[in-house]
Amino acid sequence: MPETLSAAPQSFDDLLSEAAVQTPTEFYNRLREQEPVYWNPRWNGWIVTGYRDVMAGFRDHERLSSDRFAGPFAKDMADSGSRYRQLIDFMNHWMFTKDRPYHTHLRSLVNTAFTPRSVEVLRPRIQQLTASLAESLRGRDRVNLMAEFAFTLPVIVIAEYLGIPPESRENLRAWSDDLGAVVFFQGGNQDRFETGGKAMEQLAELIRPIVRDRARNPREDLISGMVHAELDGDRFLEDEIISNVVLMVFAGHETTMNLIANGVVAFDRFPGEWQRLADDQGLARTAVEEVLRYDGPIRALARWAREPFELSGRRIDTNDRVLLVQHAANHDPTFFPHADRFDVGRWPNKHLAFGQGIHTCVGAPLARLEAQEAFAYLAREFSAVEVLTPDLRYSRNLVSRSLLGLEVRLHER
């Protein structure tokens, strides 16, 4: 149902407004109803909110570029690059900032490590970690869910998988926050390149000796795999490996943390769905897909047009910026029946939370595994994870749907 518009016409131009950041479902539902492909003069680009258009946009990597070092996003990089050399050089090796063919080369470094079959070996460890972390939350009046569970589980898993000492995890969190401010277009943060640059330097300082050590003494970890990877004679530069280890650290916990936290909030609003999952643990798989659809960790991703084309009757010109709003697509009622309902049994559920096409999240199978085990365990053990934070606040940025804090109480069955 379309909601009643308030007396004052709502502006769709400030994507970092209170309404857009705090209540994106309502904000983007209104925009989709009015103009599904909308020219936003303030962002200086197109805002795409309909499911089919967002899907088509992700699939069209030929015309919609991800390259941050060419086209309309390149200026930011060039301006910052002169001052923050290492940050920009390393981001230049991140697969999601590149097009083919370099993208294919970078992705081949890690894609076999994150297939469903490969990450399956981590399941016992994820189950053990979930149980031991949740145990320490039992019987307490207030728990900081982000710091004590949602962050801790994925960061330990990815650090161990890569071969980084987990003791550094508090540093990893701080550095990842600083990198996130750069990657997610954080609003009102003028120093984001400064702090992001320092974080990148410190991460490289931590990782470089590990990479060099594994070159001589390979172990059963992913960094060793990356150092010794050779595909069709294609080898990788040390800086390519380091920057992609940084990317795996950062992307490997930040988004999964938000997936778990956003899921806890969704279940708090739909307690009947929590009970359904508790009664039928086989629903863990579809339940996690529904969390991804309903309130996934990524709101939107940006592209730019390499050539002109039409999208739902609007002409996109060369060099136009295009924002593909996954959160909006995932609530499109013309694609998802009862889109506003959180239904843990929903299937099929072809949400766009991980993107689509060649840039689809490489870590999706690991994120799914972690979230499935976490929610299955919590629903089995606790009758509710009650949200205590009265006014949930989300990070003011374009890309990630990230709670600034989440306090909960776990109720015994």
């Binding site: 994150f114 297939t115 469903p116 299937w347 096409g357 060649i358 689809t360 490489v362 999706a364």
Partner: protein, 71 residues
């Protein structure tokens, strides 16, 4: 009638899962191609080997490919 030899396996791609990543096209180029919507489809008559098709199924990040051998 020309068809796959009976001992050749058959792959199916679940389009509710396929995300159009294209990993299978890299692993088994003769077996998979994109349709008009960018979904991977299996070509039973293509120049592929069983090893490559099984490797593609294992490599699919969405676990969208299943391989069966007709009895």
């Amino acid at each position: 009638m020309s068809g796959p030899a009976p001992e050749r396996p058959r792959a199916t791609v679940d389009h509710d899962l396929c995300a159009g990543i294209g990993q299978c096209l890299l692993e088994a180029p003769g077996a998979f191609r994109f349709d008009a919507e960018g979904m991977s489809t299996f070509d039973p008559h293509g120049p592929w080997t069983e090893t490559a098709v099984r490797r593609a199924a294992d490599a699919c990040p969405m676990a969208a490919i299943s391989v069966t051998t007709d009895g």
